[in-house]
């Protein structure tokens, strides 16, 4: 086990290097001026771009050197988190990403429980009632959720919750709450408005922030349930056919414990990986859902960057995503070992 984790740790730099190289490689498809924009540090440099200035900038950033030299120059900057200037966000790319992160984190924290737990719960019910009407109903419910594209279902939710009911508006805060939050008396301890609202004693702000989370959470839950549910169900069905389940019954263990003690713990081991990937997905920001609900997280930032062709920003976000995913997967694997004793002591 330790050998396995050690091996993963050794490969990690290789993967991260490969990731940056792939991004750099994609950059080569841009024309020189666009590529230059990924290097520029401030808008001042962009201002007076005449033909010979361009030459100077190309020279300054070494864009006429051999490709490999360019790559390592660029890599040095990336490793210092110097990702260039974002025109869309009017700030350095690094700051743009970091300032959106609390919003994304808040959504992830509130969404993870309903998404993961709800899906597992449905999957277990479905497996235990295999082929009965309840199972059929859950599976139909799931296959619809699985087939609805997020941009269709999200809009539907927005329409129902906001357009029809007028209850749960898009955005992250209402205007009045935004004013309170940006006033100097309101201390931002965590950047999570629900938490900060409570810490500042402004429960109305916390409630308002919560209200804005409802739509995205419903959207994500329904769409992602299908995945967790399918995996839980099939894993559970497989485990329920295992001999040790028959053994547990033969011992006289009540059916409830057979399922929740003997079957569930084994069945959830493969689900863990999927759940972990979902958490990573949430932490990275969910592009479509955040865009539809106008939720100012990293996902929406990525969409805006792509629409406005803000190359430094979109490249920066991509690197951020990839690092998050690679490191996160390592954490998941370690957790896996903690849950499954077979892996733990190998």
């Amino acid at each position: 086990m330790t050998a396995y984790i050690l091996r993963r740790l050794l490969i990690l730099p290789v993967i991260l290097l490969g990731v940056t190289f792939l991004v750099f490689f994609m950059m080569q498809f841009l024309d020189p001026v666009q590529r230059l924009s990924a290097y520029i540090k401030s808008p001042a440099e962009l201002k007076s771009l005449s033909a010979d200035d361009l030459e100077k900038l190309v020279d300054k950033y070494g864009l006429n050197k051999p490709l490999l030299v360019q790559y390592f120059d660029w890599l040095k900057r990336v490793l210092r988190f110097d990702l260039g200037w974002s025109e869309v966000a009017h700030q350095p790319v690094r700051d743009a990403i970091l300032s959106r992160f609390p919003a994304t984190l808040e959504l992830a924290l509130f969404a993870v429980f309903p998404v993961v737990w709800g899906g597992i719960w449905l999957g277990i019910i479905s497996a235990v009632n295999r082929d009965k009407p309840l199972d059929q109903a859950i599976r139909i419910f799931a296959v619809i959720g699985w087939s609805l594209p997020s941009f269709v279902f999200g809009i539907l939710v927005l329409f129902l919750l906001y357009g029809v009911l007028g209850l749960f508006p898009p955005g992250r805060l209402s205007l009045w709450a935004q004013n309170i939050v940006s006033s100097p008396d309101f201390k931002l301890y965590t950047g999570l408005y629900v938490v900060d609202g409570i810490l500042n004693g402004r429960f109305d702000v916390a409630l308002d922030a919560l209200r804005h989370l409802v739509g995205p959470i419903i959207t994500l839950s329904y769409l992602w349930w299908a995945f967790i549910l399918r995996i839980t169900r099939s894993s559970m069905l497989e485990v329920l056919h295992k001999e040790y389940i028959v053994m547990a019954r033969a011992k006289g263990v009540p059916e409830k414990l057979v399922i929740h003690r003997h079957a569930k713990k084994n069945a959830l081991i493969p689900v863990l990986t999927v759940a972990g990937m979902m958490v990573l997905g949430l932490l990275g920001g969910v592009v479509i859902t955040e865009t539809i609900f106008d939720y100012p997280g990293i996902g929406r930032l990525a969409a805006t960057a792509a629409q406005q062709l803000d190359y430094p920003l979109i490249l920066g976000i991509t690197i951020f995503y990839a690092f998050l995913l690679v490191l996160g997967n390592l954490v998941i694997d370690v957790l896996y070992a903690v849950v499954d004793p077979r892996v733990r002591l190998e």
């Binding site: 498809f29 619809i144 609805l148 594209p149 539907l156 329409f159 865009t291 990525a302 979109i314």
Partner: protein, 297 residues
């Protein structure tokens, strides 16, 4: 051929896979007969949506525009019919090419093993380090707008699953007798791969391919929805939904005023994906050897 008939028979036996098949066939017919169902206004550019006027506000269904017009007066019916062609084109192209690349890469990796395998698998890991939608979005942004760019991006980041699958089956097939026997009588590596191993490992690829049709089309549409995919005015379902986005909340006191801008394209794409998912699921149930053996013991 017998095998195909057998699969077809099983498909027709199960109501949900039957439904999937009917839905997919229906869309296939719509796509094939698009020029008859919705004759293009500009025959050279059939994928360009005809405009019903110059106003921005959508207009409700009328004899001229059976499903109404969406933002910018684009005809919804026309967009849906020709969008079916777009969807099939994107789906088939991306699935076939990413499967092809994946199979070749995975076959090389699994057949030769050793450091070749190690390097190829690490490259696969690198490609998998990016979330699919984000990776496709970045590459499309870099390459520029257009459906061909979208397809290239989807293929570039869509082959890894197949590669891993094929590599896995190669590793186990390699040990088996038929490969050893073929090697012993001096058949070339190339021949072994294409004649002896691939036909035996192709089922998982078919399963995976049929299951990913829906998600490929959805991702392509999502890019168009975000405004980085199909160019403005192109017949694409994702694009149609992005037109509806500004109108979905309706007018004051009249929430349902512009329902048609959303319901038709939204329902269409959901139905299309549902059809493929049902079909893919059923094909998996039928072809998966693990599930196939159930109850036979």
């Amino acid at each position: 051929m017998n095998e195909v008939l057998w699969v077809l028979k099983r498909l027709l036996k199960n109501p949900s896979s039957c439904l999937g098949l009917v839905i997919v066939l229906f869309f296939a017919l719509v796509a094939i007969f698009a020029p008859v169902i919705a004759p293009p206004e500009y025959p050279d550019e059939p994928y360009l949506l005809p405009k019903g006027g110059w106003a921005v506000e959508p207009s409700p269904p009328s004899p001229d525009h059976p499903f109404g017009t969406t933002e910018g007066q684009y005809d919804i019916f026309y967009g849906i019919v020709w969008g079916a062609r777009t969807a099939f084109k994107v789906g088939f192209m991306t699935v076939i090419f990413s499967a092809l690349i994946g199979v070749v890469v995975g076959a090389i990796s699994g057949y030769f093993g050793g450091w070749i395998d190690e390097i190829i698998m690490r490259i696969t890991d690198i490609f998998m380090a990016f979330p699919f939608l984000v990776a496709a979005m970045v590459l499309t942004t870099i390459l520029g707008k257009g459906l061909d760019k979208v397809m290239i991006a989807l293929i570039a980041f869509g082959w890894m699953g197949y590669a891993r699958l094929i590599r896995g089956s190669f590793l186990s097939a390699k040990e088996e007798l038929y490969v050893l026997a073929a090697k012993a009588i001096g058949v070339s590596s190339f021949k072994i791969i294409f004649k002896h191993i691939l036909p035996n490992t192709i089922y998982p690829v078919i399963i995976q391919a049929s299951m990913s049709m829906g998600s490929m089309v959805v991702t392509a549409s999502a890019l168009s929805f975000l405004g980085v995919g199909a160019p403005d005015g192109y017949a694409d379902w994702g694009q149609m939904i992005s037109y509806a986005r500004n109108w979905i909340v309706g007018a004051p006191g009249e929430a349902l005023r512009y329902w048609y801008t959303f319901v038709y394209p939204g329902g269409t794409i959901a139905l299309f994906v549902l059809g493929w998912n049902l079909l893919g699921d059923a094909i998996r149930d039928i072809l998966d050897p693990k599930l196939r053996r159930i109850r036979v013991r």
